[in-house]
Subunit: 195 residues, 2 copies
């Protein structure tokens, strides 16, 4: 059986991103040498630098994949709920769960801003997580749940608070308690937006 060049490329890129994702998640971006990634992926440095300009480009691919994945999860949680308010609540839960995963925490929250640069990272976030948040916001506004207002900046502030909450929970000795406090604080905030 003859594999096409496209298939070959897809296969090795997938192997590289999968290996890189696991290693980056476990030890962080620059604690993982490219050698180890290619070894885990069953290829050599040649393959890596053929498909990616540099190590950072591979990392970016990992981040985008991860972001796409968790955004899909959250979107599913939100849209599969019977009504919008419970959907939003479910989305919040799904978000906190996603951020609690070590790979998300390490790769997407800790490494990404610095490795990719803040503005590039922000662009990725805007494409995925922020887009979802603004979507939810718009739905809520249309449903009359919150009063109309410029949502761009507000969404980013909320997203950062959500992210911070997720990190706090992940790092806490008593996650349940911290999560309760965080959800209460965030709930109060959201409630204040209704009017």
């Amino acid at each position: 059986m003859r594999r096409s060049q496209q298939d070959r490329s897809r296969g090795t890129k997938a192997a590289l991103t999968a290996a890189a994702r696991a290693l980056f998640a476990a030890r962080g971006y620059d604690a993982v040498p490219a050698d180890e990634i290619v070894r885990a992926a069953g290829v050599t440095r040649g393959a890596l630098y053929h498909h990616y300009a540099d190590k950072k480009a591979l990392f970016r691919d990992v981040v985008v994949g991860l972001e796409a994945e968790i955004t899909a999860e959250i979107r599913t949680a939100m849209t599969s709920a019977p009504d919008l308010p419970t959907g939003i609540a479910a989305a919040l839960t799904a978000f906190l769960d996603a951020c609690a995963r070590p790979e998300v925490r390490q790769v997407s929250l800790l490494d990404a801003p610095r490795v990719l640069g803040w503005s590039d990272w922000r662009a990725i976030e805007a494409e995925f997580g922020l887009a979802l948040l603004i979507e939810a916001f718009t739905l809520a506004t249309d449903a009359g749940l919150v009063r109309p207002q410029p949502v761009g900046v507000l969404s980013r502030l909320i997203l950062s608070a959500l992210t911070e909450a997720a990190l706090l929970i992940a790092d806490a000795d008593d996650p349940a308690q911290i999560r309760a406090q965080a959800e209460q604080a965030l709930g109060t905030w959201i409630a204040g937006l209704i009017g």
Copy 2:
């Protein structure tokens, strides 16, 4: 004139942190080789590794110094106001101004979490910025401006939103507009805490 050993140490450490701070601020932690730092400080690698365990330890010293500096500025802004509400407003302004400085943005907000590790960075933040925020919160609670509540988690969420706002403003094409939106959003949040 004979300089004591303490004076020598203080001098070279100060030269190292000053040089490192400027270089880290301009180009980021790992874009700056230690060689360049020691050259700028007028010493050699020997001096660096005599006083600091590694490059990261020097960076940490820079972060702590920076944090102490801006916290002092903000505290001054807050306490030198005639009353608490205007003091808090002044503190907010001072905070946003501080975060807008490139060195704070790069060193303290972008590099620090990853280079030092999130929990160590969090500890530094807790000692300076967060402590100030909680202090303000407690004052406001005592003055009856906000209702009593657990402030630890809430303060962190607010701090992260404040920080995000500062980054957004620093990165915006139209800083004034973004700043206005951010202050409005934050103001609404704070207002919701009263009662």
